[in-house]
Amino acid sequence: MHNADTAQRLGAEGFQPSLVNGPVAINRNSLGEADVFGDEPKISAREVNFYYGSKRALNGINIDFRPRRVTAIIGPSGCGKSTFIRLLNRMNELVPGSRLEGEILLDGLDILSPACDAAELRKRVGMVFQKPNPFPKTVFENIAYGLEVNGVTDKHLIEEKVVDSLKKAALWDEIKDRLNDSALGLSGGQQQRLCIARCLAVSPEVILFDEPCASLDPISTAKIEELILTLKKEYTIVIVTHNMQQAARVSDITAFFLMGDLIETGRTDNIFKAPRDKRTEDYITGRFG
């Protein structure tokens, strides 16, 4: 309890009012141990509260996400981890009656300010969902879609990007002969990698994975995890997972959520070997959840 309070308090002290037009100074100690990674955070959440109607789902969340690192968000069902990740690309504003307080900064700029366009934001902060959700279109059209809605009309460029994205998503060799087949004919694991390729095609800076392996078999899961480790060389990655082994395998930093609170954040090895908070320890040793 004591440690969690410390982390929360330090987070609060690290909070600085942001200027819409410029980067803000971030207190580098706000995350305790995670700071050994040193880089400026790509995304920072400051005192984020979120409500579904009158029900409070997140309580004063403070967390930083570092570039070229994988941050895993773990916690039991209903702890707010999916709710939180969906704030980072403003997907939750589609929920009627929801309300958000606090600040979420992307490269120091508040993504919640009226000056920030949701579509522009989502281009920079891509998302891969819990269940593979390819469009009922061909493989090629699925990946080209993001480019087309973002105004790319050059056919050669689109083709190039489609091939490139499929290669990056480790899918090219498997389906290069099926580009004009329906994406719905692919296996679940292939569909999920197609969704990753679709996300990569619009050149995001951050990729949010919301339990990307929840509906996949172990082999497909291993492929996705391998892919995440490759992608982190270029992207800021946030992954929500209820699978602690997965968090341990793919992430550099782990954050533990419980009932809308961020209990603890730290280097993944530390969180799993020497959690500071009793509740984190109980969760990762399987005493609840």
């Binding site: 690309n89 589609l94 879609y145 809605v149 973002n150 329906s182 719905l184 619009v202």
Partner: protein, 284 residues
Amino acid sequence: MKRRDIVQKLGFSALFACMAANVLFLGGIIFFIAARGLGAINWAFLTQAPRDSMTAGGVAPAIVGTFYLTLGAIIFALPLGVACAIYLTEYSPKGWIVNLLRISINNLAGVPSVVFGLFGLTVFVKYAGFGVSIVSGSLTLGILALPVIISASQEALVAVPQSIREASLALGASQWETIRKVVLPAALPGILTGVILSIGRVAGETAPILFTAAAFYVRGYPDSPFSEVMALPYHIYALMTEGTHPEEQTAIAYGSSLLLLGLVLSVSMVAIYIRGRQRKTYNA
């Protein structure tokens, strides 16, 4: 045999009897119409105009009239109905107003068609000054088709998984782009099914065109949207209630009925085929 086994047997036998009665009625309609109408149908029947005060010749002008009326109704009702369905399912804030609208639209489908006919007479024929014409008839039939098209479109739109809307938005597409490029194409087969079913309904309606478009006999084919026309359903009605040669007219009425039945059934078949293909796309 135990008592509950006997009860079960009786129960299922009763259900079977009800089913058989249904098949009998439906089969009976098709059988009697076919038996009496088949003799009247030949190439001349399909291609010629009526002759000798409705006792000979064909029903070609009525086929043409029904085609124009149906086409006009769909041209009017399709964009309007689909747009309304898109607004209600994709855009309008959810709440009691939308629910009220939905209930009203569903109730509109239950309004007797003769009431639509009177409405058409007052509004299109008299007030708008279109006269008894294809335009008035098409608009009246279009209003009749609207609830069917709206309901079918709403169902088709709701059936599109929310997850692919999210996928589109998450790629930086606007809501408008998402609807136009992802949701509508996915819903199209369902919408088309509704349209085709409403074509069947519209083509077979008599009451809405009774005062707004149809005539017992028109010389030649319609030459403008403001012409009066002959139409198959009304032609059947007229043959059975007017004229001076009931015997000959009845034979032609059965022939026309068979033709109309065939048209409506084949249109429904197309709808079933398209719906089947849509299911395949989703479950591949």
